[in-house]
């Protein structure tokens, strides 16, 4: 069965390490924060200028001057740092963020990503996404493996205008976890109950399937 949004977040969270500075995009990436393992400490970077994002505020703590990159009101955890947008993107562009998690429309076998613009639809802008994909050494993209109409989003070459060229090497879809290397997707794990055949069928780009593709396991929340 395809992974739920929560399971996708859970799987991404396994890539975290203690002491990681992490930037989480909007959507599924945001949910990753809910699955940081006990005893592990991760610091969230919000590109509007906050390192050490905390939980949402109580009514009493609510402050219009304290928001995250999604424009939600947040708090800062003890030991946070707040700075300008130039400093924030110096961190991002300079490769100081350990892990970036973001969504995408399409990924191709050369690590190109399209995530911001669908010609003919209203274009709102790329925000910080182009800086994030160009800057983070370590990016995981999360998206559904195929569109609602069954069209693969893992392509030989992206159709949509790019967000970044050759910068993605890890993708988690609702069906599989894949790495990108030397112009091909490498199937590393599959969702519980999802067959290799289904993944092959729904992957338009070049896919390398190792002899053994382990199934992901998830523990039910108690």
């Amino acid at each position: 069965m395809a992974l739920t949004r929560e399971q996708m977040a859970q799987r991404v969270a396994r890539e975290l390490e203690d002491g990681f500075y992490v930037n989480l995009g909007i959507g599924i990436p945001t949910l990753v924060a809910n699955y940081i393992p006990d005893g592990m400490d991760v610091m969230l970077q919000s590109e509007n200028g906050l390192l050490g994002m905390g939980r949402f505020p109580t009514e009493d703590e609510l402050d219009p001057d304290m928001i995250n990159a999604g424009k939600q009101t947040v708090t800062a955890r003890p030991g946070a740092a707040i700075f300008s947008s130039a400093e924030s993107f110096a961190m991002i562009r300079g490769g100081h963020v350990d892990l970036t998690v973001l969504g995408a429309f399409e990924i191709d076998q050369n690590g190109n990503i399209a995530s911001w613009m669908i010609p003919g639809k209203l274009i709102k802008g790329m925000g910080g996404a182009m800086d994030l994909v160009a800057g983070a050494e370590n990016i995981i993209c999360t998206m559904t493996h195929a569109s609602k109409h069954g069209e693969s989003k893992l392509l030989e070459q992206c159709n949509l205008p790019l967000t970044g060229a050759g910068c993605i090497n890890r993708v988690l879809t609702d069906l599989a976890y894949l790495e990108i290397k030397d112009g091909a997707f490498i199937l590393k794990e599959r969702a519980p109950g999802v067959s290799v055949e289904e993944i092959v069928e729904k992957t338009a780009g070049k896919l390398i399937v190792p002899d053994h593709v382990p199934e992901m396991t998830f523990v039910e929340a108690s």
Partner: protein
């Protein structure tokens, strides 16, 4: 009267000299840390054909959204727009030109404008529509594009506390684009919540030194929240 007293008596005086066709750089991210009263004064004055440089363009009826009502903005450089119906409509009607600019590149272009750096190279945007027509150059085996600095006729900035020399401190994430905007205006106007005497602020804790600030005014702020999220 000290030559370093940057205070002006009114918002009218604060935006004196703004004219149609000018470029205005604005601080703020979403509705956080925006110079809301200076924007309202630009609306009141009615300057048209403005080029606005700002990460976003406000919402209907607030922030830079106010300047859309009388079609005062001809062109905007921003990383994310269109949260407001009026913007969307003017964009679809080609009444407003939008130059989408990656957020980090936008911040760096403002900083460069203030710092006398006319251009710089970044990997951001290479291979995307943002890189079209820009010079490409390889450094450390990776292609980068050249981006040029931005300077404004006016920069409008929202600070928290300032002394009347114009040394400014920002509050929490309301800092965002404000420090870079402050450096990049031929005339930089800062509105703050509180003005104190010189000497009251710790010199090492000033975010924007007074040398960048031409006019300073204390105002009252609505500080509208765009996405109110609370912890139950």
């Amino acid at each position: 009267m000290s030559g370093f007293d940057k205070r002006v008596a009114s918002y009218e005086e604060a935006m004196e000299g703004i004219e149609s066709g000018m470029t205005v750089i604005a601080g703020g991210f979403g509705l956080c840390g925006i110079p809301e009263n200076l924007i309202a004064e630009i609306k009141r004055r009615g300057a048209k054909d403005l080029t606005v440089v700002s990460n976003n363009c406000g919402v209907d009826g607030f922030g830079l959204g106010l300047l859309l009502e009388d079609r005062q903005i001809r062109k905007i450089l921003a990383s994310y727009v269109g949260e407001n119906a009026m913007f969307e409509q003017q964009m679809l009607n080609d009444e407003i030109e939008v130059v989408l600019t990656p957020q980090g590149t936008l911040a760096e272009k403002m900083r460069a404008g203030g710092a006398g750096i006319p251009a710089f190279y970044t990997a951001t945007g290479y291979g995307t529509p943002i890189g079209d027509g820009k010079e490409v150059r390889e450094f450390n085996g990776r292609p980068h594009i050249m981006e040029e600095a931005i300077v404004g006729d006016f920069a409008i900035v929202k600070g928290w506390k300032a002394d009347w020399y114009g040394n400014v401190m920002y509050h929490h994430t309301a800092q965002n684009f404000n420090p870079m905007a402050a450096t990049a205006g031929k005339i930089t106007v800062v509105e703050v919540e509180e003005i104190v005497e010189p000497g009251e602020l710790d010199p090492s804790q000033i975010h924007t030194p007074g040398i960048y600030v031409d006019r300073l005014i204390q105002g009252a702020f609505e500080k509208r929240i765009e996405k109110r999220t609370v912890h139950s």
